[in-house]
Symmetry: C2
Subunit: 342 residues, 2 copies
DNA sequence: TTGTACGCGTTATCAT
DNA sequence: ATGATAACGCGTACAA
């Protein structure tokens, strides 16, 4: 069987409590017995059972980050910052991915009990009518870069995000100012109620404010359900469809950089060029957009600042310094090589 | 406090064991009392404490995947397959990321105890002289896509991988056959003992077999330790250095696609073109390479097959059907637009 | 079908 | 400084 604390105690001829003191760096223990015990721990490969610890402990100083859609490159840099900031506070950091079909709040409730969490960060989930359910959580939590919808209920909720509506307005407006009049968009499927919807709304408003009436023909999405949204494949197929449809347009606003890259490739594959034949703009500011050829004009989210602020707010909540806070960051319009004056 | 099984028992006027039977779908329980109990579970938001469960349970039917360097796009598709295959077996799937400075074997030992794991998949770690330490694990494990070094000790180890040496030989040989004689490589820093080393070795051999003597000037790496290897930034800086050095070359073999993309961008930024001025080849076959403009010639690893096989072998081990098995897959040379005949 | 009681491995409290 | 023991929440063998 597994080596337990009892085994070590027996081996060393001491009580379990003494062993416990040794491995947990308690002050009141003889240095010699401690050395003796630690030696046995080494020799017999003793590893404390975390379940038993968590069961006994009332708290644990760990923060969990729940993430839906891991592998999204937009998230990977954020996590590095989380890790760093959480370590700074001498807390430990637990990353937990939520499967597509799972309910993140249920998962959070589970983890809260199991791990005696101090706080939770929800990364990139979809939170609609879930405020009530969130309130079942007994520990502080914050929604990070999730796209809080502009409904009524963002009071009493902590979040860090950009204003997806405003930022997408900003970049589409930029396209208009470049002289584009026929601007297509690659959007999320109509059922999307999250950032996809907000970004589409920004697109519409920007067009209208520039005297252009949005056209259904130019609002494009991929209906193949097997393709993940926010993927290059999604963008490729949607753009292909758009090109094949024969509608006239001179620019595309893709609601994410990955989609934009996929769309750009579709254009190149059709023998056309970016930005000579079509301008392309994206959203998010991931590295791949910067390194693409041509680099993609996009809205760069200040992810480092957002991540830092996420943790700051969460710890304020934990320390009881504040009530819920929502913070909206400004994105930066980064002009790349994928857009040109018409 | 938290609602526990005792609370539910008291509320329903039954014993804890009855509640336990209800929530665990045991056969011998009255349907009515079960309904009653489940109702109380709902009403009082009872959630079983997983730590207590794991402590009590002797086994749990979960497989853990340990991954070092999450956010590597090469891994994200693999995990989808893992998830699917593991679910097929009615097991649950635990993803655990290992921090850069952590020791994955230590983490594995921890998890084995805490979660009563049935098996472990190590994804993309570095396993050198660690065979001995791995043997401390009491449950089956397998190394997936990790680059098993060609040393002596791969017996008694299960792994799934491509032959990094052979595949990199293959693609460099292809460059030679295209007529390139001055082929640079962007490699891992010299201390790397894993796939970086193997791929560099393949590069050297291919050159020699084509009558070209490898030159130190053409073996390039980025010494900036803050940059993550296998990143675009790493490739960009290394290529920049190469270009600035003024050495003559006509092709670059980058040891990963991300590095290749970074290198390509450096070339474009210097006013040159790919493949007109320089051919570029990568390794791995990630989506971003396919969608890049020009698409990157690369070695495509059959990640779906590899992932499926990883799980298959692991379950064979768990079921005691087999001893350790190592399986080497063939990569496919995918010719993209980034290479041309000289 | 249901209840009682023990034990899982650990930490903390209280004696010693 | 160290030992004995209760408790954490749960599952289960055994008894009823």
């Amino acid at each position: 069987m597994e080596t337990t604390i009892k085994d070590i105690a027996r081996i060393c001829g001491v009580a379990v409590s003494t062993v416990s003191r040794a491995i947990n760096n308690h002050p009141d223990i003889n240095e010699e017995t401690k050395v003796l015990i630690m030696q046995a721990v080494q020799d017999y490969h003793y590893i404390p059972n975390n379940s038993a610890r968590n069961l006994k402990r009332s708290e644990s100083n760990t923060i969990a980050v729940l993430i839906k859609g891991i592998g999204n490159p937009f998230f990977s840099n954020i996590m590095k910052v989380f890790e760093k900031e959480i370590q700074k506070k001498k807390y430990s950091f637990l990353l937990h991915r939520v499967e597509e079909h799972e309910d993140e709040i249920e998962v959070a409730l589970q983890l809260e009990k199991e791990k005696r969490l101090k706080g939770i960060v929800f990364l990139g989930g979809y939170f609609l009518q879930s405020k009530e359910r969130l309130s079942k959580l007994n520990i502080p939590y914050i929604l990070s870069t999730g796209g809080v919808s502009d409904g009524t209920e963002k009071e009493s909720l902590s979040y860090v995000s950009v204003d997806d509506y405003k930022e997408s307005y900003k970049i589409v407006d930029y396209l208009c100012k470049l002289g584009h009049k026929r601007i297509a968009t690659i959007a999320a499927p109509p059922m999307d109620e999250n950032i996809g919807k907000l970004r589409l709304k920004g697109y519409r408003s920007a067009l209208k404010d520039n005297g252009i009436e949005p056209e259904q023909d130019l609002i494009c999405y991929n209906e193949d359900e097997t393709d993940q949204i926010f993927s290059m494949e999604y963008g490729y197929k949607a753009a292909k469809k758009l090109l094949d449809a024969g509608v006239f347009f001179t620019a595309i606003f893709a609601i994410s950089d990955s989609i934009a890259i996929g769309a750009a490739k579709a254009i190149f594959d059709s023998g056309k060029h970016v930005p000579e034949d079509y301008s392309i703009a994206g959203f998010d500011g991931i590295d791949y957009a910067k390194y693409y050829q041509p680099s993609i004009t996009t809205i760069q989210q200040p992810i480092e600042d957002m991540a830092t602020e996420t943790i700051r707010i969460l710890f304020d909540l934990i320390d009881g310094k504040k009530n819920t806070v929502g913070k909206i960051f400004s994105g930066e319009l980064v002009v790349g090589q994928s857009t040109k004056v018409l």
